[in-house]
C-alpha cells in the first residue's frame, strides 16, 4: 500500500513493448484526488496502452501503476474495485436490457440486489433511458449504448473513472449529456481520467492535461497555460473583395508567416492588434474592401499540434 499524498492515480516509469515497438516509454505522472485529467495524443500515441496498464488489463514490462495507493500489478482485483472503466472499443451486452446490464456490472462488485435495482433505476433516469429500461440494448442507438456503458461502469460509485475516448462518434446530444454526467460525478468527488484526441473536449472538461506522443509524455499542464505557451502562433485571418499578390500582403516586419486558405489569408504574428491596424491601412492604400477579418488566438489545439509535431520532449 503506497499512499503518502492525495494522488489517486500514479504512474511510475510505465513501459510497454510489443515486439520491437515501444508503445509506452517510461511515462510518469500522477492525478490528484477529485481532478479531471485529460490524456491527449494522436492515434497510436500510446493512450489506450497506458489506460490498459492503469486499469490492470495489461501488465507493464517495467514500472508501476497505483490506484489510491494500491499497486495495480500486485493487487489488480483490489485496484479494480476502486475504479470504473469505459474502454474505447468496449460495449455492453446487447442481448440484455439496459437495467440488466447495470445490475450485472454492479453484481461483480458485490452490491446487494435490492440496492442495485434502486441504483440502476436512478442511473437510468439520470441518463434519460428509464423509458427504455426493458428494451434489449441491441435496439439502442450508438449514443444510447454508450450511456448504458457509462451507467454500468459507475454502478458501484467508483472512486476513479477511466474513460477511453468516451465521446468518439457520438451525436451532439449524447456528447453533452455525457459531459454533464462527467462533471456531476467529478463534483461528487470522483477522479476522472479521460483519454481523447478531441482537443475541445479536453479544453472544456479537464483541469490538467498530459500530451503523449510516440509513447512518451511530452508535456503536462493546465490547458490555459499550454495555450499561452504558444502565444506566438496567434494569427489574423482576412479576406478581401479582390484577389491580390501573396507577396504584397506579407510585407512588413510584424508578419511572421503567410498562409493562403482558399480566398483567405492567414497571417501569423506576435502582435495581432498592430497587424489589424496595418491591414486596415493596407486595404485603404490598395483600394480593397475587407470582406472578413478575424483574430485567432493560440488554442490548445495549436499547443497539441506543436507538441505532437516534435519527436518528443527530450529529443
Amino acid at each position: 500500500m503506497k499512499k503518502e499524498n492525495n494522488n489517486v492515480i500514479e504512474a511510475n516509469a510505465l513501459t510497454k513493448r510489443f515486439g520491437n515497438v515501444t508503445a509506452v516509454n517510461q511515462i510518469t505522472f500522477s492525478v490528484n484526488e477529485g481532478e479531471i485529467f485529460g490524456f491527449l495524443g494522436p492515434n497510436g500515441a500510446g493512450k489506450t496502452t497506458t489506460i490498459r496498464m492503469l486499469t490492470g488489463l495489461l501488465a507493464p514490462d517495467s514500472g508501476d501503476a497505483f490506484i489510491d495507493g494500491v499497486n495495480v500489478k500486485r493487487n489488480p482485483i483490489k485496484a479494480k474495485m476502486k475504479m470504473g472503466v469505459i474502454p474505447e472499443m468496449g460495449n455492453v451486452y446487447v442481448d440484455l436490457n439496459a437495467q440488466q446490464n447495470i445490475i450485472l456490472a454492479g453484481r461483480f462488485y458485490g452490491l446487494p440486489m435490492k440496492e442495485l435495482k434502486k441504483r440502476a433505476n436512478s442511473l437510468l433516469e439520470q441518463f434519460e433511458l428509464y423509458d427504455r429500461k426493458d428494451d434489449p440494448v441491441r435496439t439502442f442507438s450508438k449514443g444510447m449504448k454508450q450511456r448504458v456503458n457509462i451507467a454500468s461502469a459507475i454502478a458501484h460509485n467508483p472512486e476513479v473513472l477511466f474513460l477511453d475516448e468516451p465521446m468518439s462518434g457520438l451525436d451532439v446530444q449524447s456528447q453533452r449529456l455525457i459531459r454533464d454526467i462527467i462533471n456531476q460525478m467529478n463534483q461528487k468527488g470522483t477522479t476522472i481520467f479521460l483519454t481523447t484526441h478531441n482537443i475541445e473536449e479536453a479544453n472544456q472538461l479537464c483541469a490538467r492535461v498530459a500530451i503523449i506522443n510516440k509513447g512518451k509524455i511530452v508535456v503536462i499542464d493546465r490547458p490555459e497555460r499550454l495555450r499561452r505557451t504558444f502565444e506566438t502562433t496567434q494569427s489574423v485571418e482576412i479576406s478581401f473583395d479582390k484577389c491580390i499578390d501573396d507577396s504584397l500582403i506579407g510585407k512588413g516586419n510584424i508578419v511572421n508567416r503567410v498562409e493562403r486558405l482558399g480566398d483567405k489569408w492567414k497571417l501569423y504574428t506576435n502582435n495581432p492588434d498592430k497587424l489589424v491596424k496595418y491591414l486596415a491601412k493596407f486595404a485603404e492604400d490598395k483600394d480593397l474592401t475587407i470582406v472578413s477579418m478575424e483574430i485567432c488566438r493560440a488554442s490548445l489545439e495549436d499547443a497539441f499540434v506543436k507538441f505532437t509535431e516534435s519527436k518528443s520532449y527530450d529529443d
Binding site: 488489463l57 489488480p76 474495485m81 460495449n91 455492453v92 451486452y93 461483480f108 462488485y109
Partner: protein, 251 residues
C-alpha cells in the same frame, strides 16, 4: 483485502460470469447447432437403417451427447465477446482470467448436465438398466467439467469471428468422437486404433457409463476417473496459458 475477501470476490466473479453466460449464450445458434443438432444427427446417421442394439449403444450415445453439449458453449463465448466488444468491459470488472475461465467452464458444464439429464431420463424410460448411481453421477459431473474445459481451451486462439472457432472446434471434436470407443467398442478396436482411443477423454466416459449401466467395463473405473481428472487439469492449465497470452489480441 483478506484471503476471505479475495476468495469471496473470486467465487462471486465466477458465479456472475456463469449466470451472464447462461443468459446470453445458451440460446445462440452455434450452441444449439453444435451442441444439440449435431449429436442428434450423428446418432440418427449411425442408427437409421442398421441393426443397432440401442440397449447396449445407449451408454455411448449418452457419452457422445454429453461431450457435444458440454463442449459447445465454451468455444463460443470469448470470440463472441471479443467481436461484440464486451470482453474488454468484462476484464475491467474485478475479475481475473481464471474467474472468466471458470465461469465459462461452469456454463458449459451446466448446459451439458441439463441436456443429458433429459437424454438420460428418456433412456431410462425405454430401457431397463440396473444403474450404479454413484458412478453415473460422478462420471457425468467430472466428464462435463472435462469436456467444458476442452471447449474453453478451444476458444483460446486469437480470432474475432466465432465462426472460425466453431470450425476449429469441430476439427478437434469430431476426431475425438471417432477415435473413442463410442461407435466401435474398445475391446473390438485393434492396434493403433486402440492406442489412439486412449488419447480421447470420451473413451474413459464411455467406460464409466458402461460400468454404471451394465456393470461391465474394459479399462477400470478408477483409471477412467483418474484419466478424466488429468485431462481436465491439462485443459484448464492450457486454457489459462493461452487465454492469458491472447488476452488483448482481437480487442
Amino acid at each position: 483485502m483478506t484471503i476471505r475477501d479475495i476468495n469471496g470476490q473470486f467465487f462471486r466473479g465466477v458465479m456472475v460470469t456463469t449466470e451472464k453466460n447462461i443468459r446470453i449464450y445458451y440460446t445462440k445458434a452455434p450452441v444449439l447447432i453444435f451442441g444439440l443438432l449435431f449429436p442428434l444427427f450423428m446418432f440418427l446417421s449411425f442408427y437409421l437403417g442398421r441393426e443397432v442394439n440401442l440397449h447396449s449403444f445407449f451408454p455411448g450415445l449418452l457419452a457422445m451427447s454429453l461431450f457435444f453439449t458440454a463442449s459447445s458453449v465454451g468455444p463460443l463465448i470469448t470470440p463472441w465477446e471479443k467481436q461484440a466488444g464486451t470482453y474488454e468491459r468484462l476484464l475491467s470488472f474485478p475479475v481475473s482470467i481464471n474467474t472468466i475461465i471458470l465461469g465459462d467452464i461452469a456454463a458449459g458444464m451446466i448446459f451439458g448436465i441439463i441436456i443429458n439429464m433429459v437424454v438420460l431420463i428418456v433412456g431410462l424410460i425405454f430401457f431397463d438398466y440396473n444403474i450404479n448411481i454413484l458412478f453415473l453421477f460422478f462420471g457425468i459431473l467430472l466428464a462435463s467439467f472435462c469436456f467444458s474445459s476442452l471447449g474453453v481451451l478451444l476458444a483460446s486462439p486469437s480470432v474475432r469471428s466465432p465462426s472460425h472457432i466453431m470450425m476449429f472446434s469441430s476439427l478437434i471434436r469430431f476426431p475425438l468422437i471417432f477415435i473413442s470407443g463410442i461407435f466401435i467398442a474398445l475391446e473390438n478396436l485393434q492396434g493403433s486404433a486402440r492406442v489412439l482411443a486412449y488419447f480421447s477423454p470420451i473413451t474413459y466416459l464411455v467406460d464409466i457409463f458402461n460400468f454404471s449401466f451394465k456393470g461391465e467395463c474394459h479399462i477400470s473405473p478408477i483409471i477412467d476417473f483418474t484419466a478424466l481428472s488429468i485431462f481436465s487439469v491439462i485443459f484448464i492449465s492450457l486454457s489459462n496459458r493461452f487465454h492469458k497470452r491472447n488476452l488483448i489480441k482481437g480487442l
